[in-house]
């Protein structure tokens, strides 16, 4: 082996040793719990039934029950609706806000900081804020509507508006994320392109469509991907605002898994629900990553 080859082998060995502690920690905090979750999903584990945690006699029982469980199936649809509308609004309004505030001015700089506040608030605080807004007795929204002689329904306990009320609160909380990402991308676009287009007679819409959008499209995709994965975690809002109701109108899959595990103690079945959810999220993430790579290759 040449000196260079020896050096490479040495470097690789060093890299492996350097990575080992991180990998061990990652294995302990991520892989082991995931394996435990998977193992639990193969059992009828009930907290109050001794021995059920190690009963692997019917490993696929929980998974066979899932398609016939109407609440589980419904929770997937609810999650899909929540994720679709939530991500759409966050990306759309975040982009519009970024376009609006992509100018140099002190006021705008202050406004940018102001718009970031919801994102840095603890999720439970966000839920409490919206609980106040949505509670007819004490809400300024209902008070204002009353002054205008407008009768608003109770948003969080209405079949038609409960899910939308969660989407609105989720959008308010996470819109700043997309806003920030798009704003950063907008500031990297050289002014010359827009100026040249203007000289050629392009209007604002054309400049946006042909120059700005292609620049920010990858960022929009990344933002949407992050928000899509994160939208599965809209737990505090649902917990505090609707409790999954009315009926099962806002019962998303992770909330259902929580109820199964902690209200009715069905740890085994809840684990199966969680594993399916995990697989779906992983599949969507991989799909989006693949789409991103495909676009890069195509370009």
């Amino acid at each position: 082996m040449t000196d260079e080859g020896l050096l490479d082998a040495e470097r690789r060995r060093f890299n492996r040793w350097a990575l080992t502690p991180s990998l061990i920690i990652l294995f302990l905090i991520a892989v082991v719990p995931a394996l435990y979750l998977l193992a639990a999903s193969f059992t009828p584990f009930q907290l109050t039934t001794p021995g059920s945690a190690t009963d692997f006699s019917k490993p696929l029982r929980n998974y066979r029950l899932l398609p016939g469980d109407p609440r589980f199936v419904n929770s997937l649809f609810v999650q899909a609706k929540l994720s679709f509308w939530g991500v759409l609004f966050q990306v759309l309004f975040g982009m519009l806000l970024a376009l609006l505030l992509n100018v140099q001015s002190r006021f705008v700089e202050f406004a940018r900081t102001f718009f970031l506040i919801p994102m840095v608030l603890p999720p439970i605080v966000v839920a409490v804020i919206w609980k106040l807004i949505y509670t007819p007795d004490i809400s300024p929204l209902y008070y204002a509507a009353g002054l205008l002689n407008v009768t608003l329904p109770s948003l969080t306990s209405s079949v038609d508006f409960a899910l939308m009320s969660i989407i609105i609160a989720d959008t308010w909380e996470w819109l700043p994320f997309t806003f920030l990402m798009v704003l950063a991308a907008l500031q990297t676009i050289p002014d010359e392109f827009a100026e040249a287009a203007r000289v050629d007679g392009a209007n604002r819409l054309q400049i946006f469509y042909y120059i700005t959008l292609p620049f920010i499209a990858p960022i929009l995709l990344v933002s949407a991907m992050f928000r899509l994965i994160d939208s599965v975690k809209a737990f505090p809002l649902i917990f505090l605002l609707t409790g999954g109701g009315p009926g099962s109108v806002t019962e998303v899959t992770n909330y259902y898994a929580y109820l199964l595990a902690f209200d009715t103690n069905e740890i085994g079945y809840s684990s199966a629900v969680t594993v399916v959810m995990l697989l779906l999220v992983a599949a969507i993430s991989l799909g989006l990553v693949w789409m991103g790579r495909y676009r890069e290759v195509s370009a």
């Binding site: 109407p70 109701g245 902690f262 103690n265």
Partner: protein, 453 residues
């Protein structure tokens, strides 16, 4: 000389000091049994847990006295209700020994007792060396003790709080103006709610999210049941004509006479609505309803009444519950924990809580029946203590109609009931359709959870 004298003095002093030191060492080695006799639990740290409740907040004021008497240290962890229930459930189910005593939450009592997660307290009460006769376990209200007994009658907890379902009316002034009497039947309840709702911006009735607590008295009132014959036969009976009638009735109250958004109301919101007179009627446990007469927060003290909830056409079964203290089966300091429970639930401490803090939801009959208690809890001529005791005792008389709530599978069915009520109130399904679906789902969920039906 002076120097010598001085030296002598020093020598003597050192000797004396050494002697004294030796004596002290000897004394510290041998008098331990004497100290132990006076304070047998000296050095023991007792770990206990419960959810946050006024009872424990008040008890914490007295705990230094207990520590002084026994020599042990009490480490009492208080968490929010759902957090505590989850922690304790996990701890006990996994056979942990982190706690020496725990709150036995009503909704978990049957599961914990049936699964053998708690120590049998009869072993302590039957030993005169551990429990003096005057502590008298039979002094606890029988109805409040039902959840803490197993099928053979062994006791696994003693109740520190009883909840008796009562009806609070905050706007008797409006009712009198309209010539309305206090409703005594379901039909009258509906009529009063209809007559008051909207008058002076007052809602007819208020309730909160836990329909599996609020609804069963209506189901039973119309002659229905939750299970066929609990605890022996836990086949749900949610789609009977009586249950359908009850859900229609209850949903009608919430839909037409309750505040907007009542389906998302917490207990606190409902209580506030009653205490501020924004809602006329609230039917819930005594500790949530009696504040309209007793609390400084109440804006409707002069126009309020607290009475028995209306009776149904078939039965008069107001709900009741209790919270208890118990000892985990694997607790490290069982005897010390029993000392604490004995002390915390003694007649003396119970009476002090009543007299010094107005905490009236205790479960000792001797305290509730005392003249002092009666005086303190008689407001506007209403003897709240007698009312509380009357309701709390009901399940122990004749059929135990609260048995449905003590079966360990109840949370599974309760969750289904909650969903069904919400579906009916919001018009997603008719009562009949919602309860048929609920019955089907309750059976499926129970079977999935391993129950043999």
């Amino acid at each position: 000389m002076a120097r010598n004298r001085s030296t002598d003095v020093t020598v003597v002093s050192r000797r004396k000091l050494l002697q004294a030191g030796a004596a002290a060492l000897g004394a510290s080695a041998f008098p331990l049994p004497a100290i132990a006799q006076a304070k047998p639990y000296a050095g023991v740290t007792l770990h206990g847990a419960s959810f946050q409740h006024r009872f424990f907040t008040l008890l914490q004021n007295y705990i230094p006295e207990f520590e002084q008497q026994t020599g042990m240290k009490v480490d009492l962890q208080l968490s929010a209700f759902p957090v505590y229930n989850q922690q304790a459930n996990l701890e006990l189910s996994s056979g942990g020994s982190a706690y020496d005593f725990v709150n036995v939450t009503f909704i978990l009592a049957a599961r914990w007792v049936a699964a053998g997660l708690l120590a049998n307290l009869d072993e302590f009460t039957s030993d005169p060396n551990l429990t003096p006769a005057e502590w008298n376990p039979k002094d606890f209200v029988d109805g409040a003790q039902v959840p803490y007994r197993d099928a053979k009658g062994a006791t696994y907890g003693y109740s520190w709080e009883g909840g008796a379902m009562l009806m609070g009316l905050s706007r008797m002034d409006l009712m009198e103006k309209k010539g309305l009497q206090i409703p005594k039947t379901f039909t009258e309840l509906q009529q009063v709610c209809a007559a008051i709702n909207g008058t002076d911006n007052v809602n007819g009735i208020v309730s909160f999210q836990l329909h599996h607590w609020c609804l069963p008295p209506y189901i039973q009132g119309f002659g229905g049941t939750i299970f066929r014959n609990p605890p022996a036969d836990i086949m749900p009976t949610l789609n009977t004509p009586q249950a359908i009638e009850a859900v229609e009735f209850y949903a009608n109250l919430l839909k037409n006479y309750a505040p907007k958004g009542v389906l998302t109301y917490t207990e606190d919101q409902a209580r506030q609505s009653l205490l501020t007179g924004r809602s006329n009627i609230f039917i819930h446990s005594s500790s949530w309803v009696t504040p309209i007469l007793l609390s400084g927060e109440s804006k409707v003290k002069d126009t309020s009444r607290v009475v028995r909830m209306p009776a149904g056409p078939v039965h008069d079964h107001p709900a009741s519950n209790s919270q208890g203290l118990g000892i985990p089966k694997n607790a490290k300091n069982k005897k010390a924990a029993w000392e604490f429970i004995k002390w915390a639930l003694s007649p003396e401490i119970s009476m002090r809580l009543v007299k010094e803090h107005g905490h009236s939801s205790v479960c000792r009959r001797s305290v509730i029946g005392s003249e002092e208690y009666r005086k303190l809890n008689t407001v506007n001529g209403q003897d709240l203590g007698a009312l509380y005791l009357e309701v709390l005792e009901l399940p122990a008389k004749g059929e135990n109609y609260m048995a449905y709530r003590t079966v360990r599978e109840f949370p599974i069915v309760g969750d289904v009931i909650n969903k069904a009520v919400e579906q009916v109130v919001t018009g997603q399904l008719s009562a009949s359709a919602a309860l048929s679906a609920a019955q089907e789902q309750a059976v499926a969920n129970l079977r999935r959870a391993g129950s043999a039906l």
